[in-house]
Amino acid sequence: MTTLLTASADDAVPDRPPTLRELLELLRARIQVTPEELAEARRRRDLLAAALLDEFPGSRTYVNGSVAHSDALDPLTDIDLGVVVAEAKDTHGPGKKGCADLQKRAAEAIRDALKEEFPYLRVEWKARKRSILVRFAKSISSGDGEFTADVIVAIEHPDKGLYIPNHATWSRSHPEEHTRMVRVANKTTQMTFARVVRLLKHYNRRNQHPLCSWNIKALALGAITAPTRLVVGMKDWFDHAIDELSEGLTEDPAGVAEKPIALNELTRTQVVDQLERDRDRLVRAIELEDAGYPLQAHEQLAKFFNDKDLLPFPDPDAVLAEVARKLAADRAAAKTAAAAAVVPIATVPVVGHHPDQHAPRTRSWGVG
């Protein structure tokens, strides 16, 4: 599958299977948003920010989410923005006014400011939990996908962080600190943090979304603290995530939110089971590569991401030939181990890479 590595017809194609590092770099490039998409998303975000600051003079805006954190995936479908309304500091909040009037004003201001460029713009704020949803009805890329913005109308908390809408009332959060923490992590790790998070978000969306994006990043803050190989960073994240989620849900890394980060559809036990299963697959890929079986390592990585379009599988016949080679080597090793009474004599290795398991040494048979 060396063609996987071919960027153009003129490029030199290595005469060997791709390494995990090369495959991850390839996938990372394929899921990364283009500079043009980013520029257009930021332009629209700036339009929204200008509209909000016109409506709420003396306020400040903040950025959040994947674009602000440098981990956006292609296709880019949304952007996040917040405004901290200065005039509402003493009038709104828990025990005072709810968020409805501020959201209504913000929605109308956005509609008025952007309707000329985006005539089919829709702004929804009623019956939503937190954000005002801005539907541009105009993609930022060549595709047909919709592009939206989540706009939060927030007020200052007297001590730390913000109050953000929670239906008609308020709850605590600290999105500005979240963005600061992620940006520090990106800088400290020389962008390994963002690259690993992007790969993990792609894994997550291709495998039933066990976690929300923010949960992935909150866990990554405790796992990826230095520059490292992508595959090692991913494994470190799985180790940390399994440890943390085995104990409980992930707490707000800014230490502000009243509740931990909620899971999507699966229970915590199911999420941990899935993460352990997929971590094992990642470890198998690393160990297979280290042992000199690049095709099986590639296959395990492709199964891990579950995306045949962006990370195709190696040729199955070539994999089978490599499996046969490994099985012969494993059998020879098992014979040596049996001679040393390390494993029971009447067992055979399990195909693939399951060094802790064996199968009875049976003989396949047939009736006639």
Binding site: D273, Q274, V323, G352, P360, R363
Partner: protein, 188 residues
């Protein structure tokens, strides 16, 4: 059943109900403990194995049936995980070659695939019934070992097909093989 999610299906109503309370190897706790031990120790299988107990019915009149279903086994060379079904019959309608039905379940996967080692009904033929206990699978060895046998067998089949199948020249079988049939024509 502690480690596999279970359900009960089927049934012919009151007339057969008392039969369900008669002792049967597959509903015995010793059998289940031996079979399911270590299932939860392997993340690759945890949460993916379900069991169902089927009562006698018009379609399955010969007795109760305990089925373990693995949602998808990872087999090298296969892009998609392979579902595997393991059936323990109270009164097998297939030949167990005088082996205890507890030690001769039907293992079904890849139905219809070309293979030199299948039983009537397309079950995988994983061992020679006349071999000694340590060259066969028995329920005391557990489901993990049986799933690994099935995984190896499916890989052997894939490699055999990729290298020629029925041929000529015939494909290569990577595992040990016993000659088909019995030397004297019948099991002892």
């Amino acid at each position: 059943m502690s480690n596999a999610r279970s359900e009960v299906t089927g049934g012919l109503g009151g007339g057969h109900r008392t039969r369900g309370f008669n002792p049967w190897y597959a509903t015995g706790i010793a059998f289940q403990v031996a079979l399911e031990r270590d299932l939860d120790a392997h993340p690759e299988h945890r949460g993916l194995v379900t069991s169902s107990l089927t009562w006698p019915s018009l379609e399955q009149p010969a007795g109760r049936l305990l089925i373990y279903q693995h949602a998808g086994l990872d087999v090298p060379g296969r892009e998609d995980a392979v579902p595997v079904s393991i059936e323990f019959h109270e009164s097998p309608t297939y030949d167990t070659y005088r082996l205890d039905p507890a030690d001769y379940p039907r293992v079904l996967a890849d139905l219809g695939a070309a293979s030199p080692h299948r039983l009537p009904g397309d079950a995988l033929c994983l061992w020679y019934p006349r071999d000694a206990d340590d060259r066969r699978w028995t329920h005391t060895v557990g489901l993990i070992a049986l799933l690994n046998l099935a995984r190896n067998h499916l890989l052997y089949e894939g490699h055999w097909r990729a290298t020629g199948g029925f041929g000529p020249p015939a494909g290569e079988w990577l595992g040990d093989e016993a000659p088909h049939g019995f030397p004297d024509g019948a099991p002892t």
